[in-house]
């Protein structure tokens, strides 16, 4: 299925004397995590379909430093940031799109003071703009009439006030968007942020992702839509924990659109 995707790198573009319209920042999860790689590919297919001239950094990309910073390791964060900024500035990057809200937040908010100022958009915002500009069209397809609930990623929602772009995309699928009790500003964390993804949770009586999954299940959804690879992992684990994986799927908004289009 993936034999047709085109993923040029910045180095290749530069060799051809071209500069892409946007840099796709893939992120560590999108590059290495098996589940997240599917999201990456779905997004690339949409970029290809809309004929967006994009490029990736490929092997020149490195962790933004987000989990290090949130763990308290400002040194490591700034080393990562400065290295990445050097690479991107050398390529004269102007605009960046990423499917990871953590990368999005870090590059958008924390890189400028270190010398890296770019226009940074989340992939749901980018897809929305492609639709608005008529470069991409979607029809409901297989999700028509399905109940879809959207889980707000903290680093997209509360952290950066992006609530509507992903919802607008879901509505385009002719699906029924059903909201959880805790949504938008009151969105409940999946449990992965602040570097929790990389450690065992502290002692408690429940895991955060189980609590959030229960909130999602209350809406009786056919699909739990996510917009963050880490939320996706946490919610997928939560659904498995509740033994509901046969009844519903956890999918990224980009995957929903790519699937609707049968890409």
């Amino acid at each position: 299925m993936s034999d047709t995707i085109k993923v040029p790198t910045m180095a290749e573009m530069m060799a051809q004397g071209k500069s892409p319209e946007v840099l796709f920042w893939v992120g560590c999860a999108g590059s290495f995590d098996d589940r997240a790689k599917k999201i990456t590919k779905a997004f690339v297919k949409l970029l290809n379909k809309a004929k967006v001239e994009f490029a990736v950094l490929g092997t020149e990309e490195s962790c933004t430093g987000d989990p290090a910073k949130r763990s308290g390791n400002e040194f490591l964060f700034q080393m990562q940031a400065v290295t990445n900024i050097e690479v991107m500035n050398a390529y004269e990057v102007k605009k960046i799109v990423t499917a990871c809200p953590h990368c999005f937040n870090t590059i958008k908010n924390e890189y400028p003071a270190l010398g890296g100022t770019y226009e940074v958009v989340h992939h749901t915002q980018f897809l929305k703009s492609l639709l608005d500009d008529g470069r991409l069209t979607i029809e409901g397809g297989q999700f028509k009439g399905k109940r879809i609930t959207f889980h707000d990623p903290c680093y997209l929602g509360r952290a950066n006030n992006v609530y509507e772009a992903p919802r607008d995309l879901i509505k385009k699928l002719d699906a029924e968007l059903v909201e959880m009790k805790n949504c938008r500003k009151k969105g409940f964390c999946c449990g992965a942020g602040g570097a929790q993804m990389f450690k065992e949770p502290e002692k408690g009586n429940k895991d955060v992702n189980i609590e959030r999954t229960e909130q999602a299940l209350e809406t009786k959804p056919d699909v739990i839509a996510a917009a963050c690879p880490f939320c996706n992992t946490m919610m997928t684990d939560g659904v498995k924990g509740k033994e509901k994986e046969a009844e519903l799927q956890v999918m990224d908004v980009a995957e929903l659109i790519a699937n609707a289009e049968d890409l």
Binding site: S31, M79, V82, L114, P201, V208
Partner: protein
């Protein structure tokens, strides 16, 4: 001897306000123990925030019941204070209802004070029921045991007593006006106290004067007492909510500050021309290197310390915290309460030692806030969003994590692994950076 009450009143007033001023000085001194931070940019946005969030109570009504009740108490508090102005003038000059010359306007004022006083009584009663009968969870978290719980109830009792005194004062005043008593000007409308006035029917004029004067005195003394109680209670928010919202962070919630001291080090490390063995420049030698992050209250910036004094322990942060809701030790409210308690301890230490802090072998970390609490945070910003006066518990958690990691290398082992991976291969997992684009060709 007619002037004795006036002198007495002036003395009470001076003591009450003077003692409060002394505590305000101490409060400002303690807040200034924090590190410097510049929060004076974008003044227009700051005024907007203050007007919308503190003055306009914009974030309170997210929870409608508590929000609307709170607005009643808040409006009552502000409006009824106009009456206090009259009381002070009357007290100092021996007049009675000095504003009575306003005529119909005065009737309207007193009438609305009375209605508000009644509404405040109702709201305070509802608040008390929520805390003590319904026992809302957020008022019964572990950090609310003992003083914080009693403190909250004392405040409700004081407010109720003040309102009852105000209404009693008016009811007896109304009776005296009916009797045509000397000195009791015919003024004011008493829509609420009229209803309790029959309680005082049949009393002699002198008994009525006794009750009226007692209520009047107790009311103003009570207000002065309450003013001075603020500093010792959780109730400073009625004053600090205003500066606190003005100085609050205006950046996107997801943006953490970049430590400047680290930036300098990183630049040095990456600068091929830098000489790592260079002698420090003149004057640098004696200065101690700056501590990274925070292990004690005084390592935090002054806005964070003001946050701690502003917190009124409502617990909206904790009730939204995903870690707290799933039984973890972390409670953002406790982070703020601990910060304040430790800062108070430092302040008292300074006072007791003639103006300088004497090492007490205690600090905010471990003695107040444990590592387990700090590592339970998902940095989701729910607490920051929930706070009705823009307090930021997350910033304190991150500063304390910075101390743990950069000064003590005390991160949990799994996080050390993650950070080792980032350092070695540019990803939090042990994958080779050269494999970063492999996904492109995988089926």
């Amino acid at each position: 001897m007619n002037w004795i009450p006036n002198i007495l009143f002036a003395i009470v007033l001076i003591i009450g306000i003077g003692f409060f001023a002394k505590n305000v000085k101490k409060l400002v001194r303690n807040i200034k123990l924090g590190r410097d931070i510049d929060r004076t940019d974008h003044k227009k946005d700051r005024w907007n925030n203050m007007i919308r969030i503190a003055l306009g109570q914009g974030k309170m009504v997210v929870r409608p019941v508590a929000g609307i009740m709170h607005i009643i108490v808040y409006v009552g508090f502000i409006i009824i204070n106009i009456e206090v102005l009259e009381i002070i003038i009357d007290g100092l000059f021996g007049t009675h209802r000095i504003f009575a010359f306003l005529g119909g306007g005065y009737d309207f004022l007193i009438g609305s004070f009375e209605v508000l006083a009644l509404l405040v009584l109702v709201a305070v009663f509802v608040f008390w029921v929520r805390r003590n009968v319904i026992k809302l969870k957020r008022f019964w978290n572990p950090e609310m045991k003992g003083w914080p719980k009693n403190d909250a109830n004392y405040i409700l009792y004081i407010e109720a007593v003040l309102m009852c005194l105000f209404l009693t004062m008016n009811a007896t005043d109304y009776q005296l006006q009916q009797l045509g008593a000397e000195h009791y000007t015919q003024a004011g409308a008493f829509p609420v106290s009229q209803l309790i006035a029959p309680l005082f029917e049949g009393l002699s004029q002198s008994a009525l004067v006794m009750i009226e004067r007692s209520a009047w005195w107790l009311h103003i003394v009570g207000i002065l007492f309450f003013l001075n109680y603020l500093y010792y209670s959780k109730h400073l928010h009625i004053l600090l909510a205003f500066p606190n919202t003005w100085y609050a962070n205006l950046e996107p919630k997801g943006k953490l500050d970049n430590l400047e001291a680290v930036t300098n080090e990183v630049k040095l490390m990456l600068d091929p021309n830098a000489d790592p063995f260079a002698a420090p420049s003149e004057g640098d030698e004696m200065s101690e290197p700056e501590k990274f992050g925070a292990s004690d209250a005084t390592d935090l910036n002054w806005v964070q310390l003001m946050n701690a004094y502003t917190c009124t322990e409502c617990g909206r942060c904790t009730s939204e915290c995903p870690a707290n809701q799933t039984g973890k030790l972390l409670s953002p409210r406790k982070i703020m309460m601990d910060t304040r308690d430790r800062l108070e301890e430092i302040g008292k230490n300074i006072d007791a030692n003639g103006g300088t802090f004497k090492e007490d072998n205690k600090q905010l970390l471990d003695n107040y806030i444990t590592k387990e609490e700090l590592w339970a945070c998902t940095s989701c910003n729910a607490c920051v969003e929930a706070c009705p006066v823009n307090i930021n518990p997350l910033s304190i958690i991150i500063d304390m994590r910075r101390y743990l990691v950069m000064e003590q290398s005390a991160a949990p082992a799994e996080l050390n692994n993650m950070m080792g991976n980032i350092e070695n291969n540019g990803a939090p997992w042990p994958y080779n950076q050269m494999d970063r684009l492999n996904w492109k060709d995988e089926a």
